[in-house]
């Protein structure tokens, strides 16, 4: 503050402008919107608790949650008004309140979350926590997968191998699709639009969805194909991510070198190879490493649909959790460790390469 005061004041007579006052009418409109939202929440409420507002000569009442929501909306609008926020931004703030109320009430978020402490103290939470914090390392290191002669740690190896194969194939196809998807490197607008559309479809199906599909098409672990189904699922998952992210990197490459390549008479493929690829190589490496991390993580989740690797073992152990939590604990801790290691490794590679 003192530093500001010490500065010699500019000898300008022009008055500094005040921040403009937002128009009152717009704010009244926002209050009307808030009232409409309140009315909607009132009519659609399912909770019967009601708040009373004694005003001396009359007592008003309103359903508890919609009223709290309404008061929050008014408070937000008041805050916006006093900070002279533009009506558009105030509308945005109001929308956040309205939508979070609407979405939260549809899943009974507040009611359910109030239940959580009692659920944590009752039930077997204590046993579970004790189990998780006393993981059974000898199970992880020395036992076999139930009913087979395969050691548990071998499942980790399978998971790692699935991630490696899926990353390499998925990222390579993703690179090709990214080239086709970006208007900068693609043959024409039509190709680029088509590939983008296909890519959106690929991305709209989550990894577990792909795993279910492939397990259904080609058979899961029961036929010894669990690893393949998981790899194919991960490949589709990786293609979606890499094509999207890298396509955007390609959109943003410096057009200068591309123009220079054009000016030498290079054709499109040559231009993509000599000018586009080197420019996006760092991003590509970075995305590939990121995707590899995701694959390690995802393969644990894919176990739920009965594919191979540590994920399969995890879901089997979860299935027999009634016999103790130490095995699940061991797998989860090991998962944290492996993901950390992969994270460190990819950070190291990124530093070396870029």
């Amino acid at each position: 503050m003192t530093a500001v005061a010490e500065r010699p004041s500019a000898a300008s007579a022009v008055k500094r402008p005040e921040p403009p006052k937002p128009p009152l009418a717009n704010y009244l409109g926002l209050v009307v919107i808030a009232m409409a939202a309140f009315a909607f929440f009132w009519w659609t409420r399912e909770d019967t608790s009601v708040l009373f507002l004694p005003l001396g000569f009359i007592t008003l009442w309103a359903p508890q949650w919609p009223l709290i929501g309404f008061l929050t909306m008014l408070a937000v609008l008041a805050l916006c008004w006093f900070t002279r926020t533009s009506p558009m931004a105030a509308f945005g703030a109001l929308s956040v309140v309205v939508f979070s109320y609407w979405a939260g009430s549809n899943i009974y978020f507040i009611d359910r979350i109030i239940d959580v402490p009692s659920r944590l103290t009752g039930g077997n939470t204590r046993d579970q926590l004790i189990g998780y914090f006393n993981p059974d390392w000898s199970y992880l290191l020395f036992s076999n997968v139930a009913g087979t002669s395969r050691p548990i740690w071998g499942e980790w190896l399978i998971t790692l191998c699935m991630a490696v194969v899926a990353t390499i194939i998925g990222c390579f196809i993703g690179l090709l699709l990214a080239m086709l998807a970006s208007p900068v490197s693609s043959f024409n607008k039509a190709t680029s639009q088509t590939v983008k559309a296909v890519n959106s479809v690929v991305r709209s199906i989550p990894d577990v969805g792909w795993a279910l599909l492939f397990a259904a098409f080609i058979g899961g672990t029961a036929y010894g194909l669990g690893a393949l189904a998981a790899v194919l699922a991960l490949i589709m998952f990786n293609i979606g991510i890499v094509a999207k992210l890298l396509g955007e990197s390609i959109d943003a490459v410096n057009p200068g070198p591309l123009e220079a390549a054009d000016a030498t008479g290079a054709n499109l493929l040559q231009r993509d190879r000599v000018a586009v690829l080197p420019a996006v190589m760092p991003s590509f490496v970075s995305y590939s490493l990121y995707v590899f991390e995701l694959n390690i993580r995802a393969s644990a989740a894919l176990g739920v649909v009965g594919v191979a690797g540590i994920g399969g073992e995890l879901s089997r152990q979860i299935g027999r959790m009634s016999q103790g939590y130490e095995n699940v604990g061991a797998i989860l801790w090991a998962l944290v460790l492996v993901v950390l290691l992969v994270d460190l490794l990819s950070m190291w590679i990124r530093r070396k390469l870029l």
Binding site: G256, P257, T264, A266, N267, R273, M281
Partner: protein, 281 residues
């Protein structure tokens, strides 16, 4: 060698970039194009290799009529017409040699380019080009790790690797400091004379144009308003091109900071106080 016959360029938004240009540039000529910003200098140069499609008239390079719609013909033409840019436009992350080899693209089959396997002759051409511009020792450095003057030499070598008949240069030295600008332009001039290459160069600085060009073309609002040998481009003529009287900045390039505005006022004051008016270069 290069003929413009009633050439017009109308941009997609309807703006007329070139208006009825008639020019005849002979083989081996070094032509400087001058004019204020927005006069259409870049448009003129880019029309020659089809980076900007012209919309009326006829543009011929050698025996070939430039046809902006025919992609494969355009590529064949571009193989013979090299282009140098103000921002160098090298691919920063690859080696100098690989940048120069981009100039061989039109003579290399696509699959060879894709796997990055250039033939021995291509490499030989690339090295010779680097020798001509005097940076052969940097062949395996990353292009982005070079100074501005060296980067523009890489760009010239890339163009030379095309073995071009024509070199187009769009403000090739505008990003360089004045002494370097002179050296690079001098190199370009020497190589152009050695190899008999036709050169069209856009320039900001009148005295560079006077020192290096055979012929000066002045442009204003998409039209050619002066065209003559360098000797005829006297101040009065140039003032007509610029539509104002010449200032010292239009002419001088050496020993004057190009843009005094770029130097922060405080730094300038300090330099003056320390008794070295141009000690900030």
């Amino acid at each position: 060698m290069i003929t413009f016959e009633n050439v017009d360029v109308v941009y997609p938004n309807g703006f007329k970039g070139l208006d009825n240009i008639n020019l005849n540039i002979t083989k081996g000529e070094f032509v400087a194009i001058i004019g204020l910003s927005g006069a259409g200098k870049s448009t003129l140069i880019r029309a020659v290799n089809g980076l900007v499609p012209y919309t009326g008239g006829t543009l011929t390079v050698g025996e070939t009529v430039v046809d902006p719609r025919n992609k494969s013909k355009l590529r064949k033409l571009r193989a013979r017409v090299g282009m140098i840019f103000q921002q160098f436009n090298n691919v920063g992350r690859i080696s100098v040699l690989n940048n120069v080899l981009i100039g061989r693209s039109a003579f290399t089959s696509t699959w060879r380019s894709l796997i990055g396997w250039y033939g021995a002759e291509d490499k030989e051409v690339a090295f010779q080009s680097l020798e001509r511009v005097g940076i052969v020792d940097k062949a395996y450095n990353r292009a982005s790790a070079l100074s501005g003057g060296q980067q523009q030499r890489v760009a010239i070598a890339r163009v030379l690797a095309q073995d071009p008949e024509v070199i187009l240069a769009d403000e090739p030295v505008a990003s360089l400091d004045p002494p370097t600008a002179r050296k690079v332009l001098g190199d370009l001039r020497r190589i152009q004379q050695d190899l008999g290459i036709t050169c069209i160069v856009n320039m900001h600085h009148l005295d560079l144009a006077r020192d290096y060009a055979d012929r000066i073309i002045g442009m204003r609002a998409g039209k050619v308003v002066f065209d003559g040998p360098t000797g005829e481009a006297i101040d009065a003529v140039i003032e007509d091109v610029y539509q104002r009287s010449l200032t010292a900045e239009d002419i001088a390039t050496v020993n004057v900071p190009v843009s005094l505005e770029d130097i922060p006022a405080e730094a300038e004051a300090e330099a003056v106080a320390a008794g070295e008016p141009d000690g900030n270069s």
